[in-house]
Subunit: 415 residues, 4 copies
C-alpha cells in the first residue's frame, strides 16, 4: 500500500530500486502536511523552500542520471535547471540563493508530476550496475535534503508569530535511560575513514576517505548528550555573559546577535514541528551553534571530542540505532544512550581533507571538497536524519554560527 | 450577479454601502488569480504579500469601526491584530515589516472568512451618519491597498525567473491620441487643497487640506506623459551615465544600484501582470524613480511641475477619466491626453504639510502626517488606482528612489 | 600685523582683496591649534580632515581662478587635484570621500606652502573686475569650509575617549537676555530671495534666487532659540520614547541609532572645542537633527517655521549681529535675542529650487542645484559661521538625520 | 651606540635584559620614519595605528609586569589602559577597535616618554628569575606587534593615492638561488610541538604545546616559495575566473571583493614600504589570502602542506636563517631556498588546539586559545618578522580572506 502515510526511510537491506522508491516516496510524504504557501517559504539565505528541495532532488537525478546517461532524454522543462540547480558551478548559471523564496511557481503539483516522470524514466537504470554509484549518490543526496527540508521549514514556520504546527501529533515516548558509563578509549593508532567499499560495505561520500591511520591519546566520551536541563544550568550560571568561556569569534557573535539561549527557546517552551511545547529537561539540548557547544564544554570543565575520537568509539556502534527519521512525523530529540540519533554532535575538528583526498572530476566533484574551509565537523545522526543514511565515517559540517540544524553535543575528556 | 468576476471599482455616485461592498468585492477579486503561494510572497521590505493586504484592510475596519464603535464586539481572532497592523504605533506591537512574507498561515480562505464576518458585523454601521467619515476613510484606505497589492505582487512575480503571469489576457486597446497642445497657465493666485467638504464634495485625506492660496508664475504642462520611446532616446543619449543630468543623491543611487533603465525593462520587453511583453514606444514610460524623472526632465531641457501647478491645471479635469482600475485585470499604461490615469506623475514638491495643517488625534492621526519628510508628491492616478479614488487635490508620495509603483512623468516649462 | 593670532573674519566693508586675505588667514589660523595628526583625522564620511579643508579651499582658487583664467599657469602639484577635489563631477576623478582620512601626506606645511603660492599668483586678479564674482564665490566657499572644519574636527576629537580640547580658553560671556516678545507677521505677499545684486547689495549663491513672491498666512516666530533647559524637559517628559511625537523616519532613526539626547551630551556635560564642560541650561540647545527639532516642536505644541516665514522676519535684522565666528577660538552657542548667530535654525521647508531657478554652466553649476532632494533648509548663522558670510536670503541645507553642525531651533506658531 | 638608527632585532644569544632593550629600541626605531599623522592612521578594522602599537606593547609590560608584580606601582596615566588594551576581556572595557584611528592624542612623544618610564621601572625585574617567563612573553608580544606595525602602516600608506614611501632606500640584494630539490619526507610518526623548555630550549607560546606525536604519510615540500612570475601565469591562465579552482567561500570572496590579483599589485608594479616599485618575477609572491593560495595549489596540481608536514621538515632548519627583520628598513620578500623568512607560509591546517592543550588562567590565558575557530595556520617567518622571534614550532594564524600580512605559499605533494 504505497500511499504517502506509509512512506518510510529506506531500509539498507533492500535492493537499490527499493531504496530509491522508498526515498522518493518519503520526500513526497514530507510535503503532504504543507500548504502551497508553506512549501514556498524561505526564511533565510541558509534555508530553502520545501518545494525547492522537492525539485532540486529531482533535478539531481534528471541531470546526472537521465541527461548525462540516457540517450535522447529530453528535459521535462528546459527552464527548470536554472531554478533548481543549487551550487554546481559546472552546471552553469542558477537562481540567486535568496530568491528561492520567490518561487510560487512552479507549483508543488507540477513538481510532483516532474518527479513521477523522472521516476518513470529512470526505472531501467536502477538495475544497471554501471549506474549504481550515481544512484546511491542520488539517494544519499535526497536523504540529506529530507533533513534540510525539515530543518528549513521549521525555521520558516518559527518566523510566524502564530506558531503554526506542521504535524499535529508530537507525542514521543521518552527514551529509556541507558547506563551512565563514559566510553573509554586507550588511545593509539586508529583506522579512520571509509575504504571505498573494500572492507566496509556500501556507499560513502568522497570526503570520508581515503581511509588512513591517526594517533589518538587516551580519552573518554560521555555516555549521553548534554540535556536541556544541563543547558539551563549553564544559562543560570551566566554562561552567555561570561567572556572567559567563549571563543573570540563566538563572543562577538553572542553580542552582535544578542544570543541568550538556544534557537527556538522561549521561556520554558521550545518551538517544534508540532508547534510550541514545554521543554523536557531530560531531553538533549539542540539547535546550538559550535560557539555555544564550545563555551558549554569549557564551562563544564570538559571539551568537545575530535572527529577521530568520535569515530574510533562509534566503530563499534550500530549506525541504524537511536532516534532517527523513519517516516513523515515531527522529529524531536528524546535522549538515551545511543551514539547515533537525536542530534548531530559537534566535534572540535575543522572540516578538512583527509590525507591524499582528491576531488572527483566534473560537477560531482563539487559535492564536498569545495566546502573545506571555515566549517566544523559534526558526527552521528539526528532525529531528522533518514535512518540508514549515516554511518560511523560520516562527516557532516556547518559553520560555527549556524544552529538551525538539530545540533547537540557530547562531552569528551582526556584520561 | 455580484460574483468575483463582476467585481468593479466603486462608483462614486453610489451609496456608501454600495461603495463599501464594491470595494470589498474588488479586493477579493484581485486575489482570485493568485495561488496560496503567490499570495504569500514578499519580495522586498517596501512590499507586502497580497494576503497581507487582504487581511490588513479588514483589520482596519475591524479595529477602527467594530472594535472602537460596536459595543461588545469580540475580535474574530485576538492574535491577528499583531499580524495585520501595519505602522500604527498607537495600536501597539506588530510583526516586523519584513516578516510579512513568512505568513503562510492564516490561509487566504481563513482571511476571506474573517472578511465575511466583518462585512456582516459592519453592515448596520454603513447607514449610520456618525460613522460615515470613518467608513469613507476605510474605503479609501482599502482602495490604496488595492493598488499596492497590484504593484507588490508584480514585483514578487518579477523575481521568478520563469516570469509568471497573474492575468493571461493583457490585450488593451491603445488610447487614441488627443491633441498636442500644452496646458498653459497664466500664474497668479491659485486656490489649492481640499476644503473639507464645504465647496468640494466628498471625502479627502487630512493631508489635502487646509485649502489655501498659493502664488504661481506663468507655466505650461505637457499634454501627454513621457513615453517609452522618448525614454529610449534618453538612454541612447547616455542619460544614465552623464552625471551632469542627475541630482547628487540620484547619481549615487544610479551607480550603487547599477541602474540603466526603468524597472521591469529587459532588452525590448517589459514585465507586466500578464508576463513579459514587447514594449509599446508610444505608451507612457513607467516604474521610474524621482531621480530618473528629474534627470530626464533636465536632459529634455524642461522641468517637473510643482504639485500646485499640477493641481491648478487639473481643477478643470474629470478625475474619473483616463486609464484607471475598473476591475480585476492586468493594469498597464496606454497613453492619451487625460490628466488622470496611466501613471502617477512626479512633481518637484516635497511632501510637506500645508499651512495650518494639524494631525488628527489617535491612531487615525498617523495616517499621513508622520510621513512628511524625505518624500516627493505625485499627482493624478495610475492604471492601478481604483477609479473614483483620486481627485485633483489628492497627494500621493514616495521616496525618490522608489519605483515599483506605476510612476511616470509629465513635463512642465516656464512661460 | 597680519599674523595668525590676529586672523579675523572678513569685514564686509573692506575691499575684495582685503577680504580675500582675511579669509585666507583665518583658515590657516584655525589649523594652528591642531597637530599634524589632529589635522588628518576623519571621523565619518560626512566629515573631512582639517587638512583637507585647508587644501580643498586652495584647490578651488587654483582651479577656477588660476587654471581657468591665468594664461600659462602651471599647477603647483599635478597630483593634488585628485586628492582635493570634493564632488565636482565635471572636474574629473577624485579620491573616495571616506579615504580623505588616509591623507597623512601631503603635510600641513606643504599645503600651507601651496596656499602661499596661490595667494601670490592670484594677487593681480583680486583687482580685476572680471574676476570679482569668482573671487567672491571662492571667499564664500572658503568661509563655508571654515565652519565645516570646525564642526568636523569637533566630531573627530569627540571620538577620542581622552576628550582632547582644541582650544584651552572657552570662557564666553553669556549673552544678555533680550526681550521676550514673539515676532509677529501679518501674512500676505512677501518678497523672497536675492535679486542678484540689483536691489540687495553684494554676493549671493545661485540657490538664493530668483527673487520671487510668496503668500504667507499670519504667524509668529519665537524671540529666542530653544534652550538646553527646555530640551531637558522634553527628555524628562519621555520625548525620545513617545512615537506620537515623531515623524516616521525620525522614529526609525531614534531606534536604530539608540538616540536619547543631542549629540555631544553626556550626563550634565557637553563636548565642546574646549573639551567637556558643564551644560548651561539657558544656552541654546545645539547638535540636534531635523527629526529631533520636529519632535520637540510637536511636543511643545508649536511647529517649525517655513524658510519663507523666517526670511520675511529676518529681512529687518542685521545679519552681522549675534554670536558668529570672528577669530580662531572655541565656538559655542550663548543665547540672546538676535535672529542670526548661535545656531542654524531648522525650517520645515525642503531644500528645493525657487521658481525659474536655473543652474549655471560647468563645474560651478554643481555648487548647489544638484543637492535639491532629501534635505531641509536651515536659516540664520551659527557661532561657527564667519561673520559676514550669512544674510537673510541665505539657504543652508542638511539631511534630516545629520547633527554634527551647530543646529538649533526657533519655534513658530500660527496666529 | 644604542641610538635609534642602530636599533636591531634582539639576538637570541643575548641576555634577557639585552634582548628586552633591543626589542624596545627597535619598536621605537620603526616609528622614526613616520610623521605624527602617519603614526595615527588606521586604514581598516584589522589594522591599528603605528602609535597604538607603540602604546599597546608598553601597556602590556606596564600591566602584566609593573601593575601586577611591582608593589606600589602607580600607573603612568590612569586613562590609558582603556585606550591601549587590545582584546583582553579580563582587563576590562577598552576602546572600540575601529576608533583607534581617532587617537591623535596622546602624541607619539608622550608615548615615548611613557615607554621610557616603563623601561626605567621595569629594569630591576629583568634579572628576576621569577619574572623571566612574563618578560619573555612581553618581548615575544612586542616582536609580534613590530610585524603588525609594519604591515598595518603599509596598508595605511597604500590608501593614499600619492603612494608615499615610509623608507626611501629599498635596494635589496636578491638572494642567490639555492638548489631545486624538493624536501622529501618518508612519513611515519613525527614529534610535533614545543615541549615547554624540556628538550627544546627557550620560550614558546602556549599554543605550540603540548608536544605530541602525529602520523604522517610520505610527502615532499617544494624547495622554494611560489614566485610573482608563477603567480602571473596563474592569472594569465584565468586563475581568478575559473570557479573549479576555488573553495566555495573563496569563490564568493573573489566575486564579492572583485579580486583579480594579490593585494598591492597594480599593472607591473607593487606597493612596498618604499613606495611603488617594479615587481621582480623571481621574488616570492606575497599578500595573498588562503583562498588564493589554495586555488593556486589546485591550479598547479599540488596542494598546501599541513602544519605538521611543514614542522617535520623544518625541524632540521635554522629558524634564524632567511630574510627576516633585522632593523628599521623596508621589508620585502627576495627569494631563496631558506625554509624561514620572506613570507609566512599557508598550511591547510585549521588553527586548533593540540591534544591536551589547556589555556592559562587570567588575562594571559586569552593570548591564543580563544582564537581557535575559523583561522588557518601559517608557518615560518616573514621579512617583517624580527629575527629570533620564530621557530619550527611557531604557529601563526589568520582568517582565510586576510592578506595584508606578508603571506606566501610553498607547495606540497604526496609521494
Amino acid at each position: 500500500m504505497p500511499n504517502a502515510n506509509a512512506a518510510a526511510s529506506a531500509n539498507p537491506a533492500d535492493s537499490l530500486a527499493e531504496r530509491y522508491r522508498a526515498t522518493r516516496a518519503l520526500t513526497c510524504a514530507l510535503l503532504d502536511p504543507l500548504s502551497e504557501a508553506d512549501a514556498t517559504l524561505q526564511s533565510m539565505e541558509d534555508a530553502s523552500p520545501a518545494k525547492w528541495h522537492l525539485g532540486h532532488t529531482n533535478w539531481f537525478f534528471e541531470t546526472f542520471l537521465l541527461r548525462d546517461h540516457m540517450p535522447n532524454y529530453a528535459l521535462h522543462d528546459e527552464r527548470w535547471p536554472f531554478v533548481f540547480n543549487s551550487y554546481y558551478e559546472a552546471e552553469g548559471e542558477r537562481i540567486a540563493r535568496f530568491s528561492r523564496g520567490m518561487l510560487s511557481r512552479p507549483t508543488v503539483e507540477q513538481i510532483r508530476e516532474w518527479r513521477d516522470a523522472v521516476d518513470h524514466a529512470i526505472a531501467p537504470m536502477l538495475d544497471d550496475p554501471e549506474r549504481t554509484s550515481l544512484v546511491e549518490l542520488g539517494i544519499a543526496h535526497e536523504q540529506q535534503h529530507q533533513e534540510l527540508l525539515l530543518t528549513d521549514i521549521k525555521h520558516a514556520l518559527f518566523q510566524n508569530p502564530l506558531g503554526p504546527a506542521m504535524f499535529t501529533d508530537a507525542t514521543h515516548k521518552v527514551a529509556q535511560s541507558g547506563d551512565d558509563v563514559w566510553h573509554q578509549h586507550p588511545g593509539g593508532i586508529a583506522l579512520i575513514g571509509h575504504d571505498g567499499g573494500e572492507m566496509n560495505r556500501g556507499f560513502a561520500y568522497d570526503n570520508e576517505g581515503p581511509q588512513h591511520q591517526v594517533l589518538l591519546t587516551p580519552f573518554a566520551l560521555a555516555p549521553k548528550l548534554v540535556t536541556n536541563g544541563e543547558w539551563q544550568q549553564f544559562i543560570d550560571d551566566n554562561g552567555y555573559t561570561n567572556p572567559a568561556l567563549w571563543l573570540s569569534d563566538g563572543w562577538a557573535w553572542v553580542n552582535r546577535e544578542s544570543i541568550t539561549a538556544p534557537l527556538y527557546w522561549h521561556e520554558t517552551e521550545q518551538f517544534t514541528h508540532a508547534g510550541w511545547v514545554k521543554r523536557d529537561p531530560g531531553a538533549p539540548v539542540t539547535h546550538i551553534s559550535y560557539y555555544e557547544a564550545d563555551a558549554f564544554a569549557t564551562w563544564a570543565g570538559r571539551r568537545l571530542p575530535t572527529e577521530f575520537e568520535w569515530e574510533a568509539v562509534a566503530q563499534n556502534s550500530d549506525p541504524a540505532s537511536g532516534n532517527q527519521l523513519d517516516s513523515s512525523r515531527a522529529p524531536l530529540p528524546l535522549g538515551g544512550s545511543d551514539l547515533f540519533g537525536d542530534c548531530w554532535q559537534f566535534t572540535r575538528s575543522a572540516y578538512l581533507p583527509y590525507p591524499r583526498f582528491e576531488t572527483a572530476e566534473g560537477a560531482i566533484g563539487e559535492y564536498n571538497g569545495k566546502f573545506m574551509s571555515g566549517q566544523f565537523v559534526l558526527r552521528g545522526a539526528s532525529c531528522a536524519t533518514a535512518r540508514g543514511h549515516s554511518r560511523s565515517t560520516y562527516r557532516n559540517f556547518f559553520y560555527p554560527h549556524q544552529r538551525w540544524q538539530f545540533t547537540g553535543l557530547r562531552l569528551a575528556k582526556d584520561i
